[in-house]
C-alpha cells in the first residue's frame, strides 16, 4: 500500500533535502577551494606552484629522493639558470607524469630531471589512490586529468562534480601549513641529521613503505606513464635527464631488478641518458651523509648535486 499523502510528503522533503545538500555542498566546497588555493607552503602549495606559476629553466621531478636530494640553489649557482624542485614524497611515476603534463601545457622548461626509483614499474594499488592528489585541480584541467584519474575510477568525473569530493580531506593540510608554515627552498626539503654508522637505530626503524606495498608484477599503465613522460618532455623541446639517487647500502641485485632494467631500457630507446649513482663509492656506506636509510641529509645532497652537475656538464647534457 502506498498512501498518496506519504508519497507527496516524501517527494517534497526529498527535494528540500537535495536542494539544501547542494547549497551546503557548493558554499562549503567553494570556501574550502578558496582556502586550498591560498596555501603558501606544503605539498599542495608546491603542486599549485608547478601547475599554475612555475617558469623555471630546470624542473626536477621524483619521489622523496628528489625532494631530499636536489638543491635548486646549487643548480642555479652552477648553471646560471632558474630551478625548481617539483618532487613529491610518496609519489611515483603516475603522479610525476601527470604533474609534468600539466606543467607542459603552460610552460616548457629548458631542462627536466627525473629522479627514478627502481620499483616504479611494479603494480601498486596505493599509487592509483595517490593520484587523487590531483582531484582539487580537476576543475580547470579536466581534459588533461580525466584520462589519468579515470584509470582508477571510471565514474570519477561524476564524483568530482561535487566540490566536497574534489577537496576531500584537504582541510587538515590547509590548517596544518597555515599554523606551521614550512620553509621554502624552491621545493627542496633538506634533512639535517646524519647517521652514526651500521649500528644506527634508524636502520632498525620503520621502513618508508609502511603505507605502500609493492608487488613485483609490472603494471603497463606505469610503463606507459614513464614512456609518455619521456616522449612529452622531448616533444616539448626540453632536455631530459634521468637520474638514480645514491644508495646507503647498495645491494648487488639492485641493477638486476626487472622494473629498474625496464626503465633504463626505455630511456635508452628514446636516447635519454641515465645517470646512475646507486653504486657510487662516495655514498655507499657513508652514513654521515644520510639522515635515514633512504634519504641523504643536506651535506649528502650538496655533494651529490655537485657530482651530478659535473657529470651532466661532462656529457654535454648541461651547458
Amino acid at each position: 500500500m502506498v498512501p498518496a499523502g506519504d508519497i507527496k510528503k516524501f517527494i517534497i522533503n526529498c527535494a528540500k533535502f537535495i536542494l539544501l545538500v547542494l547549497v551546503v555542498e557548493y558554499a562549503a566546497g567553494s570556501l574550502t577551494g578558496y582556502l586550498f588555493f591560498r596555501q603558501k607552503t606544503g605539498k599542495y602549495a608546491r603542486m599549485t606552484h608547478v601547475i599554475q606559476k612555475d617558469t623555471s629553466d630546470i624542473v626536477i621531478f621524483g619521489s622523496s629522493h628528489a625532494v631530499r636530494h636536489f638543491i635548486p640553489k646549487v643548480f642555479e649557482e652552477e648553471t646560471g639558470k632558474t630551478c625548481y624542485n617539483a618532487g613529491a614524497r610518496g609519489q611515483r611515476i603516475m603522479f610525476h607524469y601527470t604533474l609534468q603534463k600539466l606543467l607542459l601545457e603552460r610552460h616548457t622548461p629548458e631542462y627536466i630531471i627525473l629522479n627514478i626509483d627502481e620499483n616504479w614499474m611494479y603494480e601498486s594499488e596505493k599509487e592509483y589512490g595517490r593520484i587523487g592528489d590531483f582531484n582539487p585541480y580537476y576543475g580547470k584541467n579536466k581534459e588533461a586529468l580525466h584520462p589519468i584519474l579515470s584509470l582508477d575510477d571510471p565514474l570519477i568525473s561524476y564524483k568530482l562534480a561535487l566540490k566536497s569530493y574534489r577537496f576531500n580531506s584537504t582541510l587538515v593540510h590547509i590548517g596544518k601549513y597555515a599554523l606551521q608554515p614550512q620553509k621554502d627552498f624552491q621545493g627542496f626539503m633538506p634533512l639535517k641529521e646524519g647517521m652514526s654508522g651500521p649500528d644506527d637505530p634508524k636502520l632498525k626503524g620503520i621502513p618508508n613503505s609502511a603505507f605502500v606495498s609493492s608487488s613485483e608484477v609490472i603494471d603497463t599503465n606505469f610503463v606507459n606513464a614513464y614512456e609518455n613522460f619521456i616522449i612529452n618532455a622531448l616533444a616539448a623541446g626540453s632536455k631530459l635527464t634521468i637520474v638514480v639517487s645514491p644508495e646507503l647500502i647498495f645491494e648487488e641485485d639492485f641493477a638486476e631488478d626487472k622494473s629498474f632494467k625496464m626503465m633504463k631500457s626505455i630511456a635508452a630507446h628514446h636516447g635519454v641518458q641515465v645517470f646512475d649513482f646507486s653504486d657510487d663509492d662516495d655514498f655507499n656506506g657513508a652514513y654521515h651523509l644520510y639522515a635515514d636509510p633512504n634519504h641523504m641529509n643536506r651535506d649528502g645532497a650538496a655533494l651529490f648535486n655537485g657530482k651530478l652537475i659535473d657529470a651532466l656538464k661532462e656529457s654535454g647534457v648541461l651547458e
Binding site: V24, E25, G90, Y165, L171
Partner: protein, 469 residues
C-alpha cells in the same frame, strides 16, 4: 555488492521504487520481487554461491514443514539433524576445512609424526556464517515447538535471502521476519525517513571513521616487525573504533535499508563502548549473534540453571565457539577464550554495582586487549604485539609525509561518534538536532552530515570487516 559502492547507490533506489510500484499488484509479487532483488544483490559477488543459499532454503523449508507433520521423536530428531548437518556442513567445508586440516597436520608434526600436508583452494562464500545461522534458527525453533512453520515458500526464501541483512546480519529470527513477509507492507513516510537517516549515520561511521582508522591500523598491524609498544596501543585503540564503526555502521545501513521496504530488523548494537562490565558489553555488541548463541547454545547446555562450575563451563564454551564462528584462525579462538574468562571472573567476583566512568574505562581496556588477538594476522604476531607493548613502549608511529594526517582525521571522526553516543547514552532526545522540532534544523543537520561524509570520508570502497566471517 557492497553498501559503500556506486553499484549499491544505483541498485537501492531503483529496487525501492520498483518494490512499491509492484506493491500495487499485491503482497505476493512484492515479496517475490524482494527475493529476486536479494539474489541479484548476492549474485553480484559470485552467482555460483546462490546455489548454497537456495539449497539451504529448500532443505530448511521442507524440514520445517515435516517437523510439523510428525510427532515421532526419533523422526523429528533426524529431520533436525538433516538441517543442522546441511548448514554446518556448508560452514565446515567452506570455512573450516583448511583450518582443521592445517591444525591437525601441525599437531601431528609437533608430536613427531610425519604427515603430508595439503589444503584445498576454497573460496569463502560471503555471508555464509550469517545465513546458515539464520536459517538454522528456523528449524530449531520449530523443533522446540516455539514456532509454526510457514506455508509460504517465497516468504521463507525471502526471509533467508533478504539482501539488507544477508551478508553480515543482523542474524534475524523467523518469528520476527516471516510475519512481516506474510503481511501487507505500507509505505510510511516516517519509516522511510527514519531508514534514510539511519543509513546516513551508518555511512558516516563506515566511511569517515572505520575506513580512516583502518589505514593506521593496517600500517601498524601489517608491519608488526617494525613497530613499538606505543604504536600498537594506538593502533589497537583505533581498531576498537574501526571494527565498531565498521560493523555498527553496516548494521545501521542494513536496518535503514530494510525500513525503506517496510521491514523492521532487530537492533544489533547499543553503544558497547559505554558498557561497565564485560557481561554488559556482550549485551550491547552484535546483539543478534549474542542472543543466537544464548538461545541455541548456552541455554541448551543448561544456561544458568545449573551448578556454578557447570555455569562457568557453559559460559566459557559458548565464548570459545563464538570465537571460532568469527574466523578459522586460532587468534579468534583465543579471543573468544579470553572473553569467556572475563565473564567467568566477573561471575566469581560476584554481582556488585558497577557505576562510574572508571568501570567504562576498565571494560574498554579489557575488551581492547582481546582485540589484539582479533586483529593480528596470526598467533605469533599477537603475542609479539603483547610482548612489545609490555617491554618496549618506544616511539609513537604517526606515519610519513602526507599520511601524518590519517590519525588526525580518524580522531576527528572518533570524536564526533563519541560525542553523539554520549548524547544518546545520557541525554536521550535532549539536544538532538536530528529530531529537532524545526524541519529546517533537521534537514540542515543531515545535509551537513552528508557533506562531512563527502568531504572527510575515505572513498576506496573498503570491504566491511564482518564480510570475511
Amino acid at each position: 555488492m557492497l553498501f559503500n559502492s556506486i553499484d549499491f547507490l544505483v541498485f537501492l533506489p531503483i529496487t525501492v521504487a520498483l518494490y512499491w510500484l509492484i506493491g500495487r499488484l499485491g503482497r505476493g509479487p512484492q515479496t517475490l520481487f524482494v527475493l529476486f532483488a536479494s539474489y541479484v544483490f548476492y549474485g553480484w559477488w559470485d552467482w555460483r554461491f546462490l546455489g548454497l543459499i537456495m539449497f539451504s532454503t529448500v532443505v530448511d523449508f521442507f524440514v520445517g514443514k515435516y517437523l510439523m507433520l510428525t510427532e515421532d521423536a526419533k523422526r523429528r530428531k533426524w529431520l533436525l539433524f538433516t538441517s543442522v548437518f546441511v548448514n554446518l556442513g556448508f560452514l565446515g567445508f567452506f570455512k573450516y576445512f583448511n583450518f582443521f586440516l592445517d591444525s591437525f597436520t601441525e599437531a601431528f608434526t609437533f608430536f613427531g609424526g610425519q604427515v603430508q600436508g595439503f589444503t584445498l583452494q576454497i573460496v569463502l562464500p560471503v555471508g555464509i556464517s550469517f545465513f546458515t545461522f539464520q536459517t538454522m534458527s528456523y528449524t530449531i525453533d520449530i523443533y522446540q515447538r516455539r514456532l509454526e512453520p510457514t506455508k509460504d515458500f517465497i516468504a521463507f526464501a525471502a526471509f533467508v535471502g533478504f539482501f539488507p541483512q544477508l551478508v553480515a546480519g543482523p542474524i534475524e529470527r523467523a518469528s520476527n521476519m516471516i510475519p512481516q513477509f506474510t503481511s501487507v507492507r505500507t509505505f510510511k513516510y516516517r519509516d522511510i525517513s527514519a531508514g534514510v537517516k539511519m543509513m546516513l549515520w551508518g555511512f558516516f561511521m563506515k566511511i569517515v571513521v572505520a575506513d580512516r582508522a583502518g589505514i593506521y591500523v593496517d600500517a601498524v598491524y601489517g608491519n608488526v616487525a617494525y613497530h613499538e609498544g606505543l604504536s600498537y596501543i594506538a593502533a589497537t585503540c583505533f581498531f576498537a573504533f574501526q571494527v565498531y564503526c565498521d560493523f555498527a555502521g553496516y548494521s545501521l545501513i542494513a536496518i535503514g535499508s530494510a525500513k525503506l521496504f517496510g521491514f523492521d530488523l532487530m537492533t544489533n548494537f547499543r553503544r558497547p563502548n559505554f558498557a561497565r562490565s564485560c557481561a554488559e558489553y556482550w549485551s550491547r555488541w552484535h546483539i543478534s549473534l549474542s542472543t543466537w548463541f544464548r538461545d541455541y547454545l548456552y541455554i541448551p547446555l543448561g544456561g544458568n540453571r545449573v551448578s556454578k562450575p557447570r555455569l562457568l563451563y557453559n559460559i566459557f564454551i559458548t565464548f570459545l565457539i563464538s570465537g571460532l564462528w568469527h574466523g578459522s584462525n586460532w587468534t579468534f579462538v583465543i579471543w573468544g577464550g579470553i572473553n569467556g574468562i572475563y565473564l567467568v571472573v566477573e561471575i566469581l567476583i560476584g554481582k556488585k554495582k558497577r557505576n562510574g566512568l572508571h568501570n567504562i574505562f576498565i571494560t574498554f581496556l579489557l575488551i581492547n586487549f582481546t582485540r589484539i588477538f582479533f586483529r593480528a594476522n596470526d598467533v605469533n604476531d599477537a603475542f609479539h604485539v603483547v610482548k612489545t607493548i609490555c617491554t618496549n613502549p618506544g616511539k609513537l608511529y604517526i606515519g610519513f609525509g602526507a599520511d601524518v594526517v590519517v590519525p588526525i582525521y580518524a580522531l576527528l571522526g572518533i570524536g564526533i561518534v563519541t560525542l553523539v553516543e554520549i548524547k544518546q547514552e545520557y541525554f536521550n532526545e535532549k539536544f538532538s538536532l536530528g529530531a529537532h522540532p524545526r524541519q529546517a534544523v533537521r534537514l540542515s543537520y543531515y545535509a551537513a552530515m552528508l557533506f562531512a561524509i563527502l568531504y572527510i570520508g575515505v572513498f576506496t570502497e573498503n570491504q566491511f570487516i564482518y564480510f570475511q566471517f
